[in-house]
Every structure is written in structure tokens, then in C-alpha cells.
Symmetry: C2
Subunit: 454 residues, 2 copies
Amino acid sequence: MSGYQAIDQYLEQHFLRSIDELCRLCSIPSVSATGEGIEKCAAKVVEMLEKRGFVVELLETSGAPAIFAEREGRRKDKTLIFYNHYDVQPPEPLDLWVTPPYKPDIREGKLFARGVDDDKGPFVSRLFAMDAILEADGELPCNVKFLLEGEEETGSIHLRQVVEEHREKLAADVCIWEGGGVNSKEEPVQYLGMRGICYVELSVETANQDIHSGLGGSIFHNAAWRLVWALNTLKNEKEEILIPGFYDNIQPPTERDAAFMAALPNPSDEYKKRYGMTNFLEAYQDGEALYLAQAFQPACTICGLTSGYQGPGSKTVLPAKASAKVDFRLVPDQTPPEVLAKLRAHLDAQGFSDVQIKFMGGEGPGRTEPGDPFVQLAVWMAEEIYGKPAQIIPMAGGSGPNAIFIEVLEVPIVMAGVGYPDAQAHAPNENIRLDLYMKGARYITRILKEYAGQ
Amino acid sequence: MSGYQAIDQYLEQHFLRSIDELCRLCSIPSVSATGEGIEKCAAKVVEMLEKRGFVVELLETSGAPAIFAEREGRRKDKTLIFYNHYDVQPPEPLDLWVTPPYKPDIREGKLFARGVDDDKGPFVSRLFAMDAILEADGELPCNVKFLLEGEEETGSIHLRQVVEEHREKLAADVCIWEGGGVNSKEEPVQYLGMRGICYVELSVETANQDIHSGLGGSIFHNAAWRLVWALNTLKNEKEEILIPGFYDNIQPPTERDAAFMAALPNPSDEYKKRYGMTNFLEAYQDGEALYLAQAFQPACTICGLTSGYQGPGSKTVLPAKASAKVDFRLVPDQTPPEVLAKLRAHLDAQGFSDVQIKFMGGEGPGRTEPGDPFVQLAVWMAEEIYGKPAQIIPMAGGSGPNAIFIEVLEVPIVMAGVGYPDAQAHAPNENIRLDLYMKGARYITRILKEYAGQ
């Protein structure tokens, strides 16, 4: 590989300016769960793209707008699209942050802020890569498009509609997804698929007000008990999901998938240390099958519970309302509508027709085949930048709307990001490592130019 | 009955002054669950008692102090003790209050404020009654003592210790408890017993932080699931408590108890209307046995649930912590230590040794026999004041530390209060009816003077 001297020199010289730009973006809250700062953050993203000569358009939805941007390159017959999102997870619990979530802080070679890893860092590092190419080459090597959505953290509820409505505008040959980075051995990681998700809120209401528990404890329906009993029918302690038909449409991993997953290092000790755990669910005590289960098994997770009195001390009330936030992680070929229908039928059959289901967003699972040429290119370039062979992970435990791009735009998808295992995505003290930010930007320049053959 | 003309005249003429004094007391928060205002409210109560010539003493505990007061009367061989409490339940949810909980508001003949029914109204009405007697007779008819605690709403956690330590100081012949009032037919109600309570917080911790649910959903222990599964083992949908031995020491109601309970009106329609319910637990659909079950059956009530993300929208986390507040209502001869031991053994046996139990307070059940002469006196006086025969209720569903007085001070206990069915105790818009406040004060004057034979 040659011709990257000017590009790498630019990246070295302008690194702090890019970090400064990232800090400014991270100081704007953009919590899709509450709507806080979404509009202001979208305007900032538009300004950042226009500054690079992109033609930008807001694609309105009934929720947060998506942001589309495009700029022609030297090769007009090749188009690469970036998927990112500008929304972030809520920062709570605030008291666990060492520095405030929206006051980006650099310490020990890391930058801390809500959204810095997921997903503002990857986005700004891509702009940084393009700044370098534009400075060195005067133009981009091929057409480049961006789609940034503002609802990824709440289940990308309008993304399918946006992509379907604008499929010609978004048309591309290949796609670079958000995320990606290195594992605990500093090996670059290539995730080729993500589980789907079906996020619901289950709620029960048994009275028009909370009632003195001494009055009602033996005779009235209790919303909290109804919820507990209903949840208990969804999954047992062996992690078996008890909804009839839930496992019907599941495709087991192929031999190639299983081989890739088996080649991954045992993450057991790392998880135990990071999360202060002494063990895992019983089936995975030896740690060997952790990755396979994480990616190729569906899951049913209670994300939150709320009912009655939750303050300090005691209050003797019988709660009128109770609710749980629950996410189902889906593997091929499960779909959210199918899971919703089976969940409703199950609750009714178990006598819980009083439990309401509110669909809070979701998307099916999606994957790109390991043999795709664009995947091969990304894997080769990763070794160049990171100095170690890439880990191929056919499927990851997390979710994203990649299935929409795969199905509607028919693009192969690779990941190229700035992450590492202690990034604390979705948790307090979310962070990126500055060295990996630089490598992420360099990696993007390589993929872009080599893909275009320029 | 005669000789009450001057007393009743005093009560008529000074009614508004007493209401004003009650409003001032209710405007001081005194939430034992959080400690808010406890000290200030205790000081105000001391001032109110000293103003009436009582000798007052703070009985310190490691929590809120109890307040002891005494004043000698004409008969020095007879002593009546009042039990009240100056703490209140937390006022949340605040948005359901028509007027703020600590800004007492009079509308439609009612006074609204947190604690006005439970238990500041009964306390101030008793002072009002004594003001009238002192004005009319120049002295009280017998010795009168008060014990007001500041932790009733959090399970009277230090009361047993206070009563045992000061048993000679507190010695009395008879006791008037907090509470009491009329039912929906305006008949005075005489509660002779209360269920016990054992209030616990159950908590689970599975990691040192909340984790991205995509990462951990299939492989990590989830605190919320652990809690749900553990709770589910405590009680089934038939309201059967599943802790081995839980029902062992229960004494069924006597025939006399059952006859008194059967004489009570069917509260079914009233409950449905008040709480917006369409039905009750299956065993009580006809409503006939509601009162009996409410008082003579133990209960296990989830009072609150909390775990993970509870804000608007969705957040994909696997919670590290989950907890539930649970109250057990106890009937003779169950005791809190026995229930705690059985609960711990049960959770361990079910594989939930990871579920921590924090005892938040409690007391055994307590009752006074319907045939006691002081009960007969109270029943007779109630008919005089309220114009209708009293309803005898051998046991109520609520709890209080009456067992301590019955066991340690060996006093019969009656209730004489200002309550009515829509008082909203423990709920938003707690209130008393002004007419019943007046009757409550008159009732106290009768019991005091007739008991002393003066």
C-alpha cells in the first residue's frame, strides 16, 4: 500500500482539532428516549456535513428526523454509504459518572462523554478521515453517502419507513455500519451480523389509585403481583423462554459460524472482572460457549421494573399500577411482529389478558456473509492498520437496524469504528481511547480508497 | 348522661380555633420514611401538650423520638393512656393531590392534608376534648398520659423498646388508640384488634453496573429476573402464601368473631366504586367474605418494585440491581421473627440465597376481647354521640403496634377517632370531615368522664 503519507500526515497534524469537534458534538445531549436535545444535535450534524461539501437533507419522520448527506467522488460508478446515529442512551444514573455525561473530559488517554463511543465518536472519525482524503487528493475516491438516524437507541422505530421511502436516494453498493473496534487483545473485530430486537412495555392497572395495603392485602388484585406472575410465565430460571412457538423459526448457526465463534477467546475472566460477577447463567459456567450464546441465542431481558413505593424506608401501599420494560433479542429468522403475536397469545392463554403490551420499537436480525468481497477488503485493511489479523464475528449479541439496509438496499455491511471492551456503552462513564480514534480514522481512509481502487 | 352542657358549649365556640391548630400541625411535614420534618413536628407536638399543662418528656430512640406526656386528674387511681403518632406517610405521587399535601385546604366540609386523618386529626381532637373538660371542670377526671411515636408509618421499629424501657412511666389502666370513626352508614366503628405486620425489602445485585442488554441478555444473571422469580415463589395467583410453615401458628376466628364480622355490611359496591375495580380476588367475588378475609387472613403484598430503566421510552439495559418492598400482614399468633426466619429458609431452599432480606419494621397482631368493660363503655358512649349502635369489629386489616401495649402494659384498647371511609389514608387527598372531627372530640370527653365516673 502506498500513497497514504499525505493522508496520515494530515491526520497527525489535525488530530486535536477533530477531538475538539467531537467534544462539541458530545456536549449536546440527544436522548431519543426523552427527546432532549435531539433537534439541536441534528442541526449540529447537518452543519458538520455541509462544512465538508456534502449536500444534506433532513428526512422527516413523526419522530426524530433522519439526516441524509451525499457527495460525489472521482469514481461515479461506486457508492459507499455510512450508517450512523446521532441519538444517545439516557445518561442515568448520573451519580455514577466521574465527570458529567455532557461535559466531555479527557483523562488517561481516554475521552469520556455520553455518546462518545455510541455513536458520535465513529461518526466524527469518519468526517476526519474524509477531511484527510480531501486535503490529500482534492476529492473523495468514490461517491459517499451518510444516513444518520435519531432513534437508534429507542429501536429505530421509523428507519424502515425512511429507507423504503428513499431507497433510490440511499442506493449504494456497500455500507459501513456504526460500531466496530478492537477486542481485549487489541485485535480488530469485524462484526458481520446483529441480533434483532423487539422492545415492549408490559403494564397492569388494577385500581384507580394505590390503596392502603392493610385494607386490600388479602382481597384486592395487586398490579405488582399481576406483573410478577405474568413475567414469571415468560422465562424460567434455565433461561428457557416459555412463550409457545418462540423458538420455531430459529436457524441454528452454520458450521462456519460456529467455527468463527469458537475461535474467539474465552471472555469469561474479562466479563467477571469488568462487571464484578462471580459466575454466569448455569449453561455457560465454563465460559467457552459465552460468545456463541450471546450472538446465536435469542434472549428475553427485563430492562426495568416499576411499581408502587420506591423511596427510602417503607410505605404500606397496594400498588394500582405496575410496568416492566422487556427486550427480546431475536436471531434469524425471528421477527418482531411474530414475537408480539406469540407474546399476546401466551399472556392471554395464561390468564393475563389484563397485562397490556406496548410495542416500543424493534427490527429483525440481519447479517452479511463472511465470503463477501467487501468483507474481505475490510478484513485485509484492518490487519494493515491494527497490525493483527481481524477477528471475524459472524453475529453479535447487540441489535441495530442493519437488517433494513441488507433487505432494502441489498448492500454488504462491514463495521469500522473506534470501540474497545471498556467503552461502557449505555452505561455511566462511556468513553473511547484516543489512540483507537486515530486508528479508526486511518482505517476509514484505507477502506474508502482501496474500495474505489483509487 | 348530664353535665356536658358546658363542655359541648366550649367545643362549639372553639371549634375553628382547634381546626386552625390542626392546620398548623399538618403544615409541618413529618415523613418517617425520609426523616423530613420529624424534628420540627416533634417540637410542635411538645409545645401543644405543654400548653395544656402536661409534663412532657422526649423518649429518645436511635430513630425518631417518642413523646411522653402526663397530667394528673381528680381520680388519681385511674389512668388512661392515649396512643398517637406524629409521623405521616410520604405524600407521593404529588401530582394527584388537588391541593398540596402540606397546605391544608378546607372544601366541601372537609379538611385536606397529609396526615390529617392518620394521625394528626385524632391527636388534636383529643387535645380539644381536654381543653373543653379543663374549661368546664377545672381539671381532668382521671390521670391522662400520651405516648406519641414518630415511626408508626415505618413499622414502629423502636416502639417495643421504648414501651419496655419505660413501662412504669407508661403504666395505665386503659388505652385509647389512634384511628376509629364511622363507616359508610355513619355508624360508629369499634375496632378491637389489628393484624401484625412484617415489612421487608428484598434485593438482588448481580453485577457492579447495569450492562448493555445485547451483550448480557443470554448469558448473564439479571437482577430483575432473579427478583421476579424469587417473588413468584412467595405467593401464587390463588393468594396462597407458599412459604413452608407460614400458616402453622394461625388461630382461626372464634365463632363470636365470625358472627361480628358477618354482621358487617357487604363492602363490595363501595370498594368497587371508590377504587375503580370491577372485581376482587377470585375467592371473594360475592363480597360476603371480604371483611373476614381482610382481617383474619394473613397477606403478602408487594408494596413497590424497582429495577433498571424506568424513564420514558426504552433503554436496553440488563439491570445490576433490583428490589421489592413487601409487607406481610400477620394474624394471631404469627410473629415477625417467625415469618422472617421462614422467609429466609424458603428463599434459600428455592435457590435464592442471592436475595437479601432487609427487615424494615414490624409487630405482631394484637386484640382486645369484646367483653372487656372498657370496650362496653366505649360502645355505649359511641351510640350516645353518633346516634347509632356501634359496629364491633373484632379485627381490622391494618396494622399498628397495639400488640406492644396489650402485652407490655396489659391494657384493654379501644379506638376513638375522626375517620370515615373516604379519608384516603396513605393516599393522595387524605382528608377528614369537619363534622366528624367535632363528634370525635365530644366522644373523647364522654369516654374520659364516664370512665373516671366523674
